[in-house]
Amino acid sequence: MNTLGQRHAAYSHSVLVHDTDEQLIEGTRAFVAQGLESGGDVLVHGSRDRVDLMRDVLGSHSRLGYGLDEELYLAPMRTLFAYQRTLAERPSPTQLWVIGTVPLAADLSGQAAWLRYESVVDAALGAYAFAALCTYDTRTCPDSVIRGALATHRTVSVDLAEQDNALYVEPAVFLEVPLAQRPEVPDTPPTDAITIHDLDDLAAARDLVKVRAYEQSAVSPQCIEQFRVAVTEITSNGLFHGRPPVTVALWADVGRLTCLVEDSGTGHLDPMTGYRHPDHAASLGLWAARQLVDDLVIGCSESGGCSVLLTLADDQL
């Protein structure tokens, strides 16, 4: 997608599902060769042992780099927007080719978070000359992750060629399937809530987040502060683009903050809003807020307004 919302001609995001190291090596070798031949920069990433293996096979080249998942893939949204920043700031139109395995999280919740990441890569990075091939090993990945990977890539690599992927589902649809584990409002009463009528009340909402988060959770001050900024932006959006009153409900758990912001407008906000780089300041608040939290889910409130659910867990806890 460029500024008109269209995908860049040199953009692709494919999946390679493999059963053996040989299939992985073959697929990686072909992808890297294609990238280097096109004149692009190529990045191969993965776990330390995978990268060592690939380095032995592929050798070195001035436009070939290697990266470790333990440095590049720490948290889904951080990784996504780090790629976006890299692509947005590249001085030349040279294509960036990236191949590797999205790390397998320790639990189903973490795996779902990375699947949600895969699902929105097109929305966040589609405007750039970017080719990605995500590799998934059936020997190490649970069946649910393989199914999720196939549901989140428009094209699939088969016999070293890209094909349309019949199993692909659009991100908004994917978010609703059980595999995605869409973040939900906790089933307990909120820690606190406030109703906002105008801009003068904004400070009260962020003060509430600060006070309750410090009182009720062990989330770090840095996380609390960035969560406050995100909640402020979303609440402000609700006032400007939705309609007051806007309700802000906070759940402060030991290691996690959840906030539901609901306005009284007419809804209809595209759930993918805020992933694209805001070249022309459009959706700047949502774009910034997405980078400050783990998940930001746009939906409709029971009253027909727009609802935005924000979650942030402190990964140090």
Partner: protein
């Protein structure tokens, strides 16, 4: 640089910007109580026909310390007329209070009160003379301006109030080499900040112009945009701006928005 040592205070020639009556009352009350703590003489100008609920006694409530201060003349209400805005009159009253043994003198009033008895152009001259008097005497003045009334005059007002500005959620003051800001910069005050920065950078000869952010607790997108737009003219002319010592979460937003990559802007520690 002095910027990093600056703390928001209630002394000197201060500009109080208020959106509504509760904000005005809270600011004036804090300023008066600070003066009582310093055992200062406190003068307060109000119109003769001020509604009782806007008057200083009503504003300060029935605090026994305040009541006693009024009874012994430490707090004195001056009824506004054109003569009370004569700089010579002000100087005479200040010197008189100092000669009575008060260690310092404080004065406050709302700009609307002044504009009721003298033209705005003359009031600007009074503001300039007051600023000089605050430097030459142990004299502090709190000038109350509604945000609506000050919006078009922020350039002049920020230059005329050497001790800076107090607003409900943020404070700012000129410091050596730039402007120090404290508090919360958000959608409610970004236009004031933008005007302040535009005025401050226009009159500063320092390059880089330093915006001390070390005491900023909260910054949102409108506040961040104000840092950009308020320094635009300075940067367009080839000048540089140093955003000094933002707290980590403030620095994170500045980085995320790419402000640190903007031409003419650096983020870091001033030497």
């Amino acid at each position: 640089m002095k910027a990093s040592g600056w703390r928001p205070g209630w002394d000197g020639h201060l500009l109080l910007i208020y959106d509504d009556e509760p904000q005005r009352r809270a600011g004036v009350a804090a300023w008066v109580r600070h003066g009582l703590g310093l055992e200062s003489k406190i003068l307060y100008t109000q119109p003769p026909d001020d509604p009782p609920d806007r008057s200083l006694p009503a504003l300060l409530g029935d605090d026994s310390g305040v009541v006693e201060a009024m009874e012994r003349g430490q707090i004195q209400v001056i009824e506004a007329d054109s003569s009370t805005y004569d700089p010579a009159f002000i100087e005479r009253l200040v010197d008189g209070a100092l000669s009575e043994g008060y260690p310092s003198v404080r004065w406050s009033g709302d700009a609307y009160t002044a504009w009721g008895v003298i033209p705005r152009s003359r009031h600007e001259g009074v503001e300039r003379a007051t600023d000089e008097l605050c430097v030459s005497r142990p004299f502090s003045v709190l000038c109350q301006y509604s945000s609506r009334a000050s919006a078009d005059a922020m350039d002049f007002l920020s230059r005329a109030h050497g001790a800076g500005l107090r607003e409900q959620r943020f404070q700012a003051a000129p410091v050596e080499g730039g402007l120090a800001v404290a508090g919360e910069l958000d959608a409610t005050n970004h236009t004031i900040l933008c005007s302040l920065l535009t005025a401050a950078t226009a009159t500063s000869r320092r390059d880089p112009f330093v915006v001390d952010l070390s005491l900023v607790d909260f910054l949102d997108l409108p506040g961040a945009r104000a840092l950009l737009f308020g320094t635009f003219d300075h940067r367009s002319g080839g000048g540089r701006v140093l955003l000094h010592a933002p707290q980590p979460h403030v620095a994170q937003l500045i980085h995320l928005l790419g402000i640190d990559k903007t031409e003419g802007i650096d983020v870091g520690e001033a030497l």
